[in-house]
């Protein structure tokens, strides 16, 4: 008898909650499941993409030369780390922006891996081609979602 009462009470609470949610949703007119478009994020990611591509183009031009070593290009990695950290912190500060935040963290991981590769040895043109594809895919993913947040603006 007690368990049936509890079930009825539980169902009643559930029903009231659903009604409340629907009423609130209807009264607030629109539902927002993902954050809005952020122009700063868009620009920062695009700038970093440009810097990364410039770095890869430079590496291609110095393939096989003494200037190809990691030490000659450390500045790019240091600056890129700062840039991606700025992007990630901003993304995390925006409510309902979890996916973009996680993608920024993955982008940071991409940069770390590129740095590790470069520390091992100068990158060949084949490797640079691979890396370029990895980064193009990564940047496109972030930007595609960010632009989609415009919602017909």
């Amino acid at each position: 008898m007690m368990s049936i009462d509890r079930r009825i009470l539980g169902f009643g609470v559930f029903l009231v909650s659903v009604c409340l949610v629907v009423t609130l949703a209807l009264s607030s007119c629109t539902v927002k499941l993902v954050s809005g478009y952020d122009e700063t994020t868009d620009r920062a990611v695009t700038d970093l993409q440009r810097k990364t591509e410039a770095h890869l183009v430079t590496l291609e031009s110095v393939e096989g030369l003494p200037e190809c070593t990691y030490e000659n290009h450390k500045q790019f990695y240091d600056e890129a780390k700062v840039d991606i950290n700025v992007i990630t912190v901003r993304a995390a500060a925006i409510p309902k922006n979890d996916i973009t935040t996680q993608e920024s963290q993955l982008l940071a991981s991409q940069l770390d891996n590129l740095e590790k590769l470069h520390k091992i040895a100068c990158l060949s043109k084949d490797q640079i081609t691979l890396v370029r594809t990895h980064f193009n895919t990564s940047f496109t993913a972030i930007l595609k979602l960010e632009l989609a947040k415009r919602r017909g603006e």
Partner: protein, 109 residues
């Protein structure tokens, strides 16, 4: 006053379908294009390793970058899906609002 629940239900469904199917072609094309690219890079990593142009450590790093890129594509597809669902919900809410307010004769919603 007579709110037709069947008609209302059909209006909501039409709004939902419209919103979801409108965005799906873009998501599908994006997913297919990226899947193709990722497959090509996977083959390239394997080839470079097999031909000795990269060592085990380098291959593992490239593979890790490949996995990260794949994750990001999937996350973006997920995000686009959530945005589609959001648009569908808001379309349905809008459909309900107009019909209800018209039938009732004043702005309830």
């Amino acid at each position: 006053m007579s709110l037709d629940a069947v008609k209302l239900g059909k209006d909501i469904l039409a709004a939902l379908n419209g919103s979801l199917t409108e965005k799906w072609p873009d998501v599908k094309d994006y997913g297919e294009a990226e899947a193709k690219k990722l497959a090509q890079t996977l083959v390239m990593i394997a080839t470079l390793k097999a031909t000795g142009k990269i060592n085990k450590e380098q291959a593992e790093l490239h593979l890790e970058m490949q996995k990260n890129a794949t994750r990001m594509v999937l996350m973006t597809i997920e995000g686009l899906g959530v945005l589609s669902a959001e648009a569908a919900i808001n379309s349905a809410l809008s459909a309900v609002k107009d019909n209800v307010n018209t039938e009732i004769g004043f702005t309830l919603l």
